[in-house]
Amino acid sequence: MISARKLGKRFGDKRVLRGVDLDIEDGAFAVVTGPNGSGKTTLLRLCAGLTLPSEGDLEVDVTRAAVGFLAHEPLVYRELTALENLELYGRLYHVSERRERTGMLLERFGLWDVRHDRVASYSRGMTQRLALCRVLLHEPQLLVLDEPFTALDAAGAELLDAQLSELRGDRTVLLSTHDPDRVAPLATTRLALA
């Protein structure tokens, strides 16, 4: 599904990634680890298609519609409600049975009761849970998650664990984390960035 050879990325004069080789098959669960500044986020952004490589080759076998990317930022509008945000993304991704899926996800991640509240009023944990809803809404084939556990509260982390176990094998997951032990049982591929 994803294959990269000598992948590199520069921002102006700063070289963030260099000589990365990567092979992720369909249905794999890949975990990327590395210290801060090692380029994990950049690698994930490259795989999600948000940015182009400066050098090397990168092939991702799915279209934009089949990718779900969880960034550092939740990528939701703070002045809109959870429902309105998911409604927007649902329309943009042409999600079938949009209302049902939205409701189902909000409920699963414990946001149903606050669905009419503006995101600005949410706690960080709640916002991250909403971001997860956004990512899962269109049932992407490739899930790219940038340190998903970082902003989650305990309840949210449990929900994510459950969700990831469910998706394993079915979808391809590329995840970066500071806490590799947490996802160790699920991982099929590992990549450590210097």
Binding site: F11, D13, K14, L52, S54
Partner: protein, 229 residues
């Protein structure tokens, strides 16, 4: 990757010599050979340069837009820098248009600025536009985003040129009804030759300066890369 120096057909020293020869020839023709203009006398001679410089500036902006298109369309790695240098040359020549035009206006009509001169007003607008190009470019860190922004803006510029010219023309109905007419020169004999030589001289000069600046910028880029490799 790093922009590889494009292998140009004509080498820089040849261009430099050609510029020197042509500019000297043009100056000689303009000041010693061509007869005085019937209406405006000696001052009209600056027009040979004024018109040629204007056309050269247009050529630079068009060249910059073409390179910009190459950058966006073909993802040519050298095109961004070439586009930037071409536009830089265009602005330099554009400022010269304003200066030569202003001098001519003062000598011929006694005013340092004439709103009735379409070409002059157009170059004023273009100067504002392309000055903003540099502000835009230097407000973004080097990288693909900066190159894309610059390229798109350069394309806007090339569309703006005819649109602005048309706007200035039709604005004449409601502003500044007093028009200082310029009698076009009769294109006979030496006059035509002089125009052609002056135009050729300036185009070659502009291209030479473009190549020089481009070479300098490429060395700069290469140095940076070596340092941060």
């Amino acid at each position: 990757m790093e922009p590889v120096t494009r292998s140009h057909r004509v080498s820089l020293p040849v261009l430099a010599v050609a510029s020197l020869v042509l500019v000297t020839l043009a100056l000689a023709l303009v000041f010693f050979v061509v007869p005085n203009d019937a209406n405006q006398g000696f001052s009209q001679r600056i027009f040979y340069f004024h018109v040629s410089i204007a056309f050269t500036a247009y050529a630079c902006f068009a060249g910059g837009a073409w390179k910009a298109l190459l950058h966006l369309w073909k993802r040519d790695p050298r095109a961004d820098l070439e586009s930037y240098v071409a536009i830089h040359q265009g602005v330099i020549f554009g400022v010269l248009v304003l200066i030569t035009g202003s001098i001519w206006a003062k000598i011929s009509w006694g005013h340092w600025w004439l709103w009735s001169e379409d070409q002059l007003v157009l170059f004023l607008v273009l100067f504002l536009f392309y000055a903003a190009y540099f502000m835009l470019r230097f407000s973004v860190d080097p990288g693909p985003q900066r190159a894309n922004f610059s390229a798109v803006y350069a394309l806007f510029g090339v569309v703006l040129i005819p649109v602005s010219f048309l706007a200035i023309r039709i604005a004449k109905s409601f502003i500044h009804p007093v028009v200082f007419t310029l009698h076009g020169p009769n294109f006979g004999g030496w006059i035509l030759v002089t125009y052609c030589v002056a135009q050729a001289a300036l185009l070659v000069l502009a291209y030479t300066l473009y190549r020089i600046e481009l070479a300098g910028k490429l060395i700069d880029v290469r140095l940076r890369e070596l340092r941060f490799a």
